[in-house]
Each structure stands twice: as C-alpha cells, then as structure tokens.
C-alpha cells in the first residue's frame, strides 16, 4: 500500500478525472462529484487534492482555452498518468481481493 498513497477523497477525485477524460477541469470535476456522490465539495478541498496528486505524479495537467465566462482565466485540464492508473488499479485490486475473501455467510445479514 505504501507505494501508492491514495486517500479516499483523492481516489474519488482521481476516478472522476478519469470519467471526464479530456474535459476534467476544476468546475467540471466538482460538478461531476457533486452529482454522482450527492455531496458538497469545496473548491479548496478538491484543488488541494488535485495539486497533491499532481505532485505525487498520479495526474498531469495542461492549460486550456481562455473563456469570457471565467474572467479571462484559462482552464486547467487534468489527465491520469500511467502511475495514477496503477494506483487506481492497485486500490481496486486490494478491495476486490478483500471482497472475494469475505465468506458468503458474513454478508448474509
């Protein structure tokens, strides 16, 4: 686990970046998470998660077009890197193996 340090919220953001593929920028990611998870996301929490993951190398970013709607500021699009993919994969594998190992009766509630 130590190789890929991925927090729960980070994982969600990372997955959302994947979902949005080429259209993953701040407002879009925020909107996506809010609509899918039905929970409020603050710009601060999301942005710091994004920058942290960028530093760790899970995602890449590029600057996009300038938009009047945004007060002349560019968008920043995020994409998952190969390392980021591995991290997601790893996290999924771990969960899956845990799922698989739960004896059937344990969940027969």
């Amino acid at each position: 686990m130590k190789r890929y340090q991925l927090g729960e919220f980070e994982e969600i953001v990372l997955l959302t970046v994947g979902v949005l593929y080429n259209e993953a920028y701040g407002v879009a990611i925020k909107g996506e998470i809010e609509s899918r998870l039905k929970r409020k996301v603050s710009v601060g929490a999301m942005q710091s998660a994004l920058r942290r993951m960028e530093k760790k190398g899970f995602i890449d970013s590029r600057l996009g077009e300038v938009n009047r709607l945004r007060g002349g500021k560019p968008k920043r699009y995020f994409t998952i890197t190969a390392y980021g993919r591995d991290a997601l994969q790893h996290s999924q594998d771990v969960r899956l193996s845990l799922w698989n190992d739960i004896p059937g009766v344990a969940l027969d509630l």
């Binding site: 920028y25 701040g26 710009v43 942005q47 920058r51």
Partner: protein, 876 residues
C-alpha cells in the same frame, strides 16, 4: 465589492502557479450561481476563498526566488547533525560545557538583578532620598558617616525647602516581646512610622485606612504574614496585643499592609505609630541621631544643589561646623552605602562585581571549549571543506555551514541550560539565602537573557572556527599534505592558557575566601565568649521610686543567687551584648577632651554601659587601672576607655591617663568623668570593622545579662531561678558564640557561592582539556609511531605530551597568580582584620590545577603511548 476584496486576499496567499486557473474556476462558479439565482453568491465566493487556504495551495512561506539557498540550508543542517552525531565526545563535551556555563550565567545574573533591584519597587523610587549625618574633623574632612539623623531634620527641611514634597521619620526598635492570647512572639522587625510613611514607601494597605492608622499613640500596623501568625485569617483591625518587653503597653492593631519584599534596605514586620515613641523630647532635639529620615524630592531635583541648600538650613540649628547632612538616593543604599548604623546588613557592590566576573568567565570558558575542540577536529573536516570548494562552494557558504553547527550545539546547550536553571532554582535560592525568583520559565528577563546570550554565544564560539575551517586551501587539503596552521595552534594554546588561568584564579580565590572566613571565625577577638549565655531582664514597670527600689533589690538578689551557685563563674550586665551587628551600640558625636592632655576633639565616640562584673564574665582585659567597683560611691562618675580611644587622641601611655578627667561637651564645668581603667581592644562585632574608640560607663543595673558557666548544669539552675523571679516572662536565652557565628552568614554564603561556581568553571575547563587531549593524541599518533620505531620508550612519549600541557600551565600561572593577587587583595581590603595575601595558597592552587590537568590528560596520553608502532605506520 466583497468578492473583489476576497480575490485580493486569495491572490495574496495563493501559490502563483495555481492562481489563474483556480480563480477561473471560482469565477465560473460565481457566474453559474448568478445565472441560477442562487442566494448570496458573493458570500459563497468568500467561503470558497476561505476554504482554499490550505498547505497544498498557499504561496511558499520562504518566498525566496533562489530556492537553491533553502536546499543548501537543508544540506548544512543535515551535514551538521551527522557530524555532531559522529563526534559524540565532541558534541557531549560542548553541550555539557555550554549548558553548565549558561545555567550558571543565567542564575548568577538573576541574583545580580535582584541585588540591584533594592528599593526600586516604590512609586517614585527615583525621588526617594535619605538624609544622613556626617561627622567632620577640624579640617572639615569626613570622619564618621552615620546613617541616622535627628528627628527634626525631616520637618525642618520640608518647611524650608520647596524641593521636599514629603518626608517621613522612622526609628528601628531592638527586640520587642509581644503577647497575643497565649502566644509570645519575639519581634525584631518593629519600626516606628508617621502618617507619611506609607506615602513614601508605597506598600499596599489591605485593611485599615492609610490616612488615620497612625493617628493614635499605641497603634500598630502589621504586615500580612505577621497578622496571620497572630490572628489567623480574620481581619485583625481593632484587636489588641501586649508588649512585654522592654516596657509594658497595650497596642491596638489599626491596619494590615502587604508583606515587605526581600529587596528593600529597610525591612520590617510591624509599624508602631510614631506618636507612641517614649522619648517625646527627641522630636525637637537635633543631637539625638536615632532616626532614619527620608525625603520625597520633586522630580528633576539636582541632588548636589539640594544637599548644599539642606546644609544651609542645617547650619541654622547646628553651627559648630563639625557636622553635615548627606542626602543620597534610597535605591543606592543597599549596594553603595558605607554608613554605620544601617538598619540591616547591606549587600556589597564588590561581591556583585566578583559574581559578574565569575559568570562571564564561566561562559567564556564554555565558549572557548567549543572554539578549541572544533578547530582541533578541523583536520578531519579538511577533506570535506576541500571537496565542497572544488565543487564550487563559496567561502561565505562554508562560514554559514559551520555557524550552523555552532548554532545547533548552542541551541541544545541553551535548551538544557533552561531546564537546568528551572530545576536548580530551589538549590540556588538556598545557596544565596534569598528567594530571587520562583520559576525560570515565567521570568521574562531570564528568558530574554538566555536568547541573547545563546545568539552571542553562537556568533562568538562559531565565528572563529568557521573562519579557520572555511579558509583551507583545497589543493593542499586534497593532496593530503596538510597541517594545522601555525597561527591556529597558537590561538588554541592561548585559549587553553586562558582556561587554566581562570581555573587557577577561581580555585585560589575560593580558598582565600574560606581562609579569611576561617580566620574571622577563629581569630582571637580579645574576649572569651565560650560558655557564656545572654538573657534580657524585663523592664521594671515601676511607676514610683519605691517600686523601682523593690525591683532593683529583686534584680540584685537574682544576680546574687546565680553568682553563689558553683556552676556559674560570673554574671555581668551590659547595655549592648557582644556579637551584635555593627550598629548595635550607643554613640555620641559630642566632642570630648582629657583635661590637661588634649583639646576638644570631634568624631563619633562609642559608648557602652557595663556593670562591675561584665569584664569578668566575658573575659575582657584591662591594660591599666581597675574595673568599676560597686562599693565605691565615687565610681558613679568613673569611666573606662579602650586602647582605640587613646590612639584616636594620640595618647601613647595608658598609665599616664589613669585618674585623669575626661570631659564631654563644651560647657566648662559639666560632663566631667574620671578615667579609672584602660580596656584592651576587643572586637564587639565582625572583623570587617575596626575596633571603635569606645567609652565604658558604669551602669550597675544594666539589663542585658551575660552569664559565664563552669559547666552545663548552670543552665538548668538559671532557668529555675528565672522562673522564681520573673514568672510572667519567658526565659529566652542564647549563647554568645552563636551571636558571633551569625555575623558571618553573608561571608559564608559568598564563600559557598564562589565555591560552587568556581567548581563548575573548573569542570568545564577540564572537560575541554579532556577533549583536546584526545584529539591531539589522535593527531600525533603517527609522530608517536615514528618515535617508537626510532627507540623512544613509553615514558618518553608520555613526557612529550605532558611537557606540552605543563608549558601551558606554566604560562597560565604567570598570568593567573598576579591576577589572583590583585583581585583577592582588593577583596581582603574590605576587612579591617584580614589575612595576609597567602602566596602559598596561590602556588598550591597551581599544583591543584596541575594535578587535575595531569589526571585529565593521563588516560589519553597513556593510551597513545601504548599504541603499537606497526599498527599506526602500516597505512603509510
């Protein structure tokens, strides 16, 4: 508007790289909110901005454009920590040394601050002054300085001079016995106070009215802790207490004030209203200098000019030209006063200066350790320096690196010192006999001192090694042909010499202080106080002549009963017991002459009243004439004088003076007394002061008894008799030897303080020496190998190392011993009776330093001397 403001804030703290796109997001969300008519879009914007303040998003705190510097600093830190971890002995010695040094320095400085803080806590402390009395000789030179002045001095100066805003006059009483309910207290801290007293000395009033508490005679105001001792926690105003001795009276408590702190020259436990003073005639009398007179002067008064004006006023009342007033700031009294009759023992500026010197020495010795050791291990660091230079380090970068190391060592030392100071405070308070502060951490000046001297220490101890280490030439270093520079070795030698000198001075100083103390405690003071107790006879309370006669006959038979017992050798009476402090005596400034021998001469003459057995009881000796005799009626007009009196008046032959007449005062026919005996000088108080010219007058009913025992059964008998004769009064006695021992408490404290800190300084120096010896023996191991191959024996090798250190000790002796002489001689000069400067002690201290150095170095040198030459030289 709010949004713009929030944006400015956001731009300020946000990381510049992230700002444009995040701000874009915010803007987009905002426009979205506006479009969807969401409530309070601006507020939402602000909340978002607030929530964006996160470590991952904010601007870097060290806003350095050249981020390389930070990386280098991190590297210095890492390398420093590694170096310190590798050289464990070096680090330990330095940290321990610096910690001891700083702890001592901090504690001593708190003590000094305390000593200098005397009387500075009053409101307008700067303008409080005391008026004292100077006695002049014929030529107008000052002969005696008396802290007390006469009662009217205060109100007359106030009336005549506008600069005097207020004044107070106070008298200090000797021991007074007080009964409260079933308890009897012996009070030594009672002084008189008028209604101005608390306006000058601004102690907080807790109960009672500041304006009226001194209006009535027989009113008493207590400090909080005394009130508690007497009455517990109740408000004692209105309660009464009984004075048993020296006279009977009932006192009414009219107030309670806060406790008087330690740092005042005029401490007291109770204030007795001025109006209850028995000697009412003192109020107008200019001759009785029994009062402390304090003035509150107007702000910015020129003291010199004021003193001159005060003396003009004084001349109207005392025009003999033989006396003068002296006005001095109250804040200066404790450390600077050289007056007699001070209300309590004073501090000494000299002791303070000594302590300042010691504390600075200790600190410097610790810094020197760091300098010495870090230049000594320079050889090991040389390669590192060379390599750094080759890959492009500038000299100033290396300096910073080595300063960084000094910083870390000093920081650890400082932290240890801080905790040590906190832990050791109780012991320190005990050592100096005062509670200066309770906690190190809550005392800001101490913390401030710590930080300042930690920084100074870092610079002083770090700078020289940093310069030396950073100055290495990379080519020479990396070629491997590198030696420590000549000047570096000389500096190191000089520093070691300095440490040895300091150790020598401190050891010799300590021994000399103890020697003087021992001298004073065991010196022949001219009387024998062994097995002598003292006890105070209660007041007669007689109201008529007859009652007084009855009391006297009882008193006489009490003495007679004691004298008849075999275990009691003698019973004498006196006005002033031997072994009191310097001011415990009567005196007069009236001029005296011996008819036919001298003119009238000024200068204070001291007076003691004795009965006819006093000399016998304490073993005083006569060098001419005889003692008083109760049976001879004419003896009521007889006196004795001491040798010093004769000396003062230049009368060489004591026998010649016997039977001559001594006259007091100016009147032709009055005040004549016959001299019947000349007493050998003896020291009635500490050996700090000279034996004063003293006149002994007869007082057959003197009420302070000294009782000389033959054996221990006597005490029981005296107590029994006391119970018979004075059943109301407790039998409260003491031994004269104890009174004398108490005189030297301050000296003993000074000696102990000196001992502790001298010991610490020597320990630091030896620690440094140990480290130095180990590095030097390591560096010279190759030389040892070669010498051994060429045939040197172990002893010869050891000899080489010792000559190195002993040469340094020799130089240290040349510097240290003269300094010991200068310093300690000036200290000894404080004492009227002092030991000669003990040269032998200086030299034996030298031997002590030598032996300590020898032992310190022994392990390292013997180790290197035993080394196998083959092993050392194999790598060559």
């Amino acid at each position: 508007m709010i949004k713009q403001f929030a944006d400015v804030i956001f731009r300020w703290y946000c990381h510049p790289d992230y700002y444009p796109d995040i701000q874009g997001d915010l803007e987009e969300l905002y426009t979205g909110h506006l479009k969807n008519k969401v409530q309070f879009p601006q507020l939402k914007y602000c909340v978002d901005v607030l929530l964006l303040f996160r470590p991952a998003l904010i601007r870097p705190i060290l806003n350095n454009t050249n981020s390389n510097n930070i990386a280098m600093f991190q590297n210095y830190l890492k390398i420093s920590l590694r170096t310190l971890a590798r050289h464990k002995m070096f680090t330990t010695i330095n940290v321990v040394g610096l910690a001891i040094g700083l702890t001592s320095f901090l504690l001593i400085n708190e003590y000094i601050r305390f000593e200098q803080s005397y009387d500075s806590f009053h409101k307008d402390a700067d303008q409080l002054h005391r008026v004292s009395y100077l006695v002049l000789n014929e030529n107008g030179q000052v002969m005696d300085k008396d802290a007390m002045a006469s009662y009217p001095t205060g109100n007359v100066l106030k009336k005549e001079l506008p600069e005097v805003l207020n004044y107070t006059v106070s008298k200090k009483f000797d021991q007074i016995s007080i009964r409260s309910g079933q308890n009897i207290f012996q009070e030594t801290g009672i002084i008189s106070a008028d209604s101005n007293f608390l306006k000058l000395f601004t102690y907080q009033v807790i109960h009672g009215s500041k304006e009226t508490m001194f209006n009535e005679p027989w009113s008493v105001v207590m400090t909080q802790s005394r009130a508690k001792a007497y009455f517990g926690d109740i408000n004692p105003v209105g309660e009464t207490i009984q004075v048993l001795m020296p006279y009977k009276a009932e006192l009414k408590v009219t107030g309670v004030i806060e406790d008087v702190p330690d740092n005042t020259h005029y401490k007291f436990d109770m204030l007795l209203s001025d109006k209850s003073l028995k000697d009412g005639d003192d109020y107008e009398n200019w001759d009785y200098n029994n009062y402390y007179v304090y003035l509150r002067l107007a702000d910015n008064t020129n003291l010199k000019a004021f003193e001159a004006k005060a003396n003009e006023v004084f001349l109207k009342f005392e025009d003999d030209g033989r006396s003068k007033l002296d006005v001095h700031p109250v804040q200066n009294i404790y450390l600077k006063s050289d007056f007699t009759f001070e209300p309590q023992p004073l501090g000494s500026e000299k002791v303070i200066n000594f302590l300042i010197i010691i504390s600075i020495f200790i600190l410097i010795v610790a810094w020197v350790n760091y300098i010495n050791l870090s230049t000594a291990i320079a050889l090991e660091r040389a390669k590192e320096v060379g390599l750094r230079k080759v890959v492009g380090a500038f000299k100033h970068q290396l300096v910073i690196q080595f300063l960084c190391e000094a910083f870390i060592i000093n920081l650890i030392g400082g932290l240890v010192a801080f905790f040590a100071a906190e832990l050791l405070l109780p012991f320190f308070n005990q050592l100096i006999g005062k509670t200066i502060i309770l906690h190190a951490w809550s005392h800001l000046p101490l913390v401030y001192n710590l930080i300042v001297f930690f920084l100074i220490g870092t610079l002083i101890s770090g700078f020289y090694p940093a310069l030396v280490l950073s100055g290495f030439k990379p080519i020479a270093v990396l070629k491997g042909k590198f030696q420590n520079s000549k000047s570096g070795i000389i500096t190191r030698k000089a520093l070691v010499v300095f440490q040895f000198s300091v150790s020598l001075i401190l050891i010799a100083g300590t021994v000399i202080v103890y020697k003087q103390l021992h001298f004073m405690q065991t010196a022949d003071i001219g009387i024998s106080v062994d097995k002598v107790i003292h006890v105070q006879i209660p007041d007669s309370e007689a109201e008529t002549e007859e009652e007084y006669e009855v009391f006297l006959s009882r008193f006489d038979s009490f003495k007679e009963n004691l004298r008849n017992h075999a275990a009691i050798a003698a019973v004498g009476g006196t006005s002033n017991l031997p072994g009191g402090n310097a001011s415990d005596i009567n005196s007069t400034t009236t001029r005296t002459r011996i008819l036919g021998f001298t003119e009238r001469m000024g200068g204070t003459v001291y007076i003691q009243y004795n009965d006819d057995s006093f000399l016998e009881a304490i073993g005083m000796k006569l060098i001419a004439g005889r003692d008083f005799d109760k049976e001879m009626k004419s003896d009521s007009a007889a006196i004795m004088v001491n040798e010093s009196y004769l000396k003062r008046f230049n009368l060489p032959d004591p026998d010649e003076i016997i039977g001559e007449t001594l006259q007091f005062g100016e009147t032709e026919d009055k005040g004549k007394r016959t001299i019947i005996g000349i007493v050998k000088d003896y020291n009635r108080t500490t050996l700090k002061s000279q034996v004063e010219p003293t006149i002994y007058m007869p007082w057959m009913n003197a009420d302070a008894l000294v009782i000389k025992f033959n054996n221990a059964q006597a005490l029981e008998f005296v107590e029994e008799e006391w119970g018979q004769f004075f059943p109301d009064v407790p039998f409260d006695y003491g031994f004269l030897t104890e009174r004398f021992a108490k005189l030297y408490v301050q000296e003993e404290r000074f000696g102990n303080t000196f001992l502790v800190f001298a010991g610490l300084a020597v320990i630091i120096a030896l620690l440094g020496l140990y480290g130095l010896a180990s590095f030097i023996s390591l560096q010279r191991s190759k030389e040892v190998g070669v010498r051994k191959v060429l045939g040197a024996s172990q002893l010869q090798i050891i000899y080489i190392f010792y000559t190195y250190f002993f040469k340094l000790i020799g130089v240290a002796a040349l510097i240290g011993i003269p300094l010991v002489y200068v310093l300690m001689n000036s200290w000894l000069d404080n004492y009227a009776y002092r030991i000669n400067f003990p040269w032998i002690i200086s030299f034996s201290s030298l031997i002590v330093v030598g032996v300590l150095a020898f032992l310190t170095v022994a392990y390292q040198t013997s180790k290197v001397a035993r080394l196998d030459a083959a092993n050392i030289l194999r790598n060559e």
